[in-house]
């Protein structure tokens, strides 16, 4: 059995006309870094929140480490989460924020201190350990949020657009830090983002969603080279693909304005003489 299994997961909010997530089927192996990508409202965050236990699963089964977790409280699912707005405890210092969960787990104080020190060191927060969140920059706050997640030794990390509030430069460096952290810790990670560059550069596998339905799941290059539909093709790649309606007769490809090009043999073979809307 895989580490995580989504079986026909559906989510329908009360009074909503249609499902927010429909028939979500996916397996995730241990230590994998999976990115959920898609435009706003595609259901990626809802799916992540169902994994965390903050949203009820309307139908389907969710398994983490062999256990069905549909009705399990968030704290019992063995997960740690990094939120979009950091969700730090504003009245606690950096070290208290990081150690709060451990203290609630009744971990001995010496152990807590050791783990907090380790997280602070690994995230480069030494000089900020006694500061409160309001006195930290966005990047430092996000690092504290990461620290809070990593100290608890959970089996699964959930990250909900953790870099979306940072400026472009910082986003690149934090992207590298998260990837490095994943390589070092090897914790299974689900990363939600609407930024395909983040997904392409960080994830082992990408799940592309639209209107609550998985469009394609696969390795970044697989999605890039062999998109299964026009949506995936248009979503992946930067700059974006252009779409032109064209007519094909044999090797001749003709645009609406009458201009024409000749196609290579291999492309002609794949099209099998169809009239088509071709992606350029």
């Amino acid at each position: 059995m895989s580490f995580m299994e989504f079986k026909n997961i559906c989510k329908k909010y009360e009074n909503a006309e249609r499902n927010s997530v429909t028939d979500f089927n996916l397996t995730i192996e241990e230590k994998e870094f999976i990115a959920f990508v898609g435009p706003s409202g595609c259901g990626k965050s809802t799916t992540l929140r169902m994994v965390a236990g903050f949203e009820e699963i309307t139908s389907g089964d969710l398994y983490i480490d062999g256990k069905r977790v549909n009705d399990m409280a968030p704290r019992d699912r063995g997960i740690a989460m990094v939120f979009q707005n950091y969700a730090l405890y504003p009245h606690m210092t950096v070290e208290k924020n990081i150690g709060y969960g451990l203290r609630n787990m009744k971990v001995p104080e010496a152990e807590v201190q050791k783990k907090v020190d380790w997280a602070i060191r690994i995230l480069g927060l030494e000089e900020f350990r006694t500061r409160k969140p309001k006195n930290l920059s966005g990047g430092q706050r996000q690092r504290v949020a990461l620290g809070r997640a990593i100290v608890k030794n959970q089996k699964l990390f959930l990250m909900d657009e953790p870099l979306s509030n940072l400026d472009a430069k910082l986003r690149v460096s934090m992207r590298n830090e998260i990837s490095k952290l994943h390589r070092e810790l090897g914790t299974t990670t689900i990363y939600v983002t609407h930024d395909q560059v983040e997904a392409m550069t960080m994830a082992d596998r990408i799940v592309i969603m639209k209107d609550g339905v998985i469009q394609q799941a696969g390795a970044p290059m697989e999605l890039y080279e062999h998109p299964v539909n026009k949506f995936v093709a248009g979503f992946i790649g930067s700059p974006q693909m252009n779409f032109y309606p064209v007519t094909i007769h044999g090797k001749e490809l003709r645009f609406r304005d009458g201009s024409m090009i000749l196609l290579p043999d291999e492309v002609t073979a794949r099209l099998q003489g169809r009239n088509a809307e071709l992606i350029m």
Binding site: A52, M81, Q84, N85, Y100, N104
Partner: protein
């Protein structure tokens, strides 16, 4: 940048307000100055400017205060009131805070109707509520007890509403993060919600203190025993005693007034915030 004309208007307004504030200050200064004088001096200074000037500290300067503190139970009444205020602040924050939190963050049927109902409670005249409280307390045999005095005063619709308004703005993701950090809902309330809402906690504490300190009607209904009386009732019983001199009366009024003035000057920010966040004032 203010224009010359606006600056001029500001100056005039400041002067007018200063003059008006003197009208309010006169009785307080008069009370304070005369509380240090013997009755003969008070009468002699009555129609002169000297009525607003305290005597030079020296022999007998604190006589009025010392006689009140040694010959009456006033110190005891003040201590009682402080104790009631402290208990009511703690209980009030817990009970009204939890109610405000539920009304702000927990989804349950007819939640908005409950809020409306609690708001409507505010328009019921205080005397009506006090009568019901009195009958209930008498029926359960809690008259002339501390519990009988405190119990009906814990729940306060105004404070529930105040808490709710502030808690509405608390971010939900902090609660979600706390859940993953093994924090129980009750622990979350005490270790996260209250520290994150220090201003409203301070506002409610100040209002509660002022309510208890200035309250006369409810303690006069509940208490009959001299040991349990509050400062306001003590003040009334001392000042209505024929043997109390004018100077002693002023001294005891000063002692009742000073904590209120101190609280107002220290926590004016919280009081203003409390008033502006709900558009009403209590206390």
């Amino acid at each position: 940048m203010l224009t010359k004309k606006q600056k001029g208007i500001n100056w005039i307004l400041t002067v007018i307000l200063l003059v008006l504030s003197l009208f309010f200050l006169f009785p307080v200064v008069w009370m304070l100055a005369n509380s240090f004088k013997p009755d003969a001096a008070i009468t002699a200074d009555m129609n002169t400017v000297a009525a607003f000037i305290p005597p030079v500290p020296g022999g007998g300067f604190l006589d009025n205060y010392l006689s009140i503190l040694t010959n009456t139970n006033f110190l005891r009444y003040m201590a009682n009131t402080l104790f009631y205020a402290a208990v009511l602040i703690v209980c009030g924050i817990v009970v009204n805070g939890l109610a405000g939190y539920a009304l702000a963050k927990i989804h349950f049927p007819f939640r908005e109707r409950w809020v409306l109902l609690i708001l409507l409670l505010q328009i019921v005249p205080m005397e009506t509520i006090l009568t019901i409280h009195f009958l209930m307390i008498a029926k359960v045999g809690l008259l002339n007890t501390v519990v009988g005095y405190i119990l009906p005063m814990i729940v306060n619709p105004f404070n529930i509403f105040l808490f709710r308004q502030v808690f509405l703005n608390l971010p939900d993701d902090v609660y979600e993060a706390a859940q993953l950090d093994y924090c129980s809902p009750l622990k979350y309330f005490f270790t996260m919600v209250l520290p994150m809402s220090k201003t409203v906690v301070a506002t409610v504490s100040v209002f509660t203190f002022l309510n208890v300190w200035n309250d006369y009607l409810w303690p006069s209904l509940v208490f009959t025993s001299g040991n349990l009386l509050t400062a306001q009732i003590g003040l009334n019983s001392i000042t209505s005693n024929e043997n109390t001199t004018m100077g002693q009366t002023l001294a005891v009024i000063t002692m009742v007034t000073i904590p209120v003035i101190i609280i107002y000057s220290l926590f004016s920010k919280q009081i203003v915030e409390g008033v502006t966040s709900t558009g009403s004032k209590e206390g």
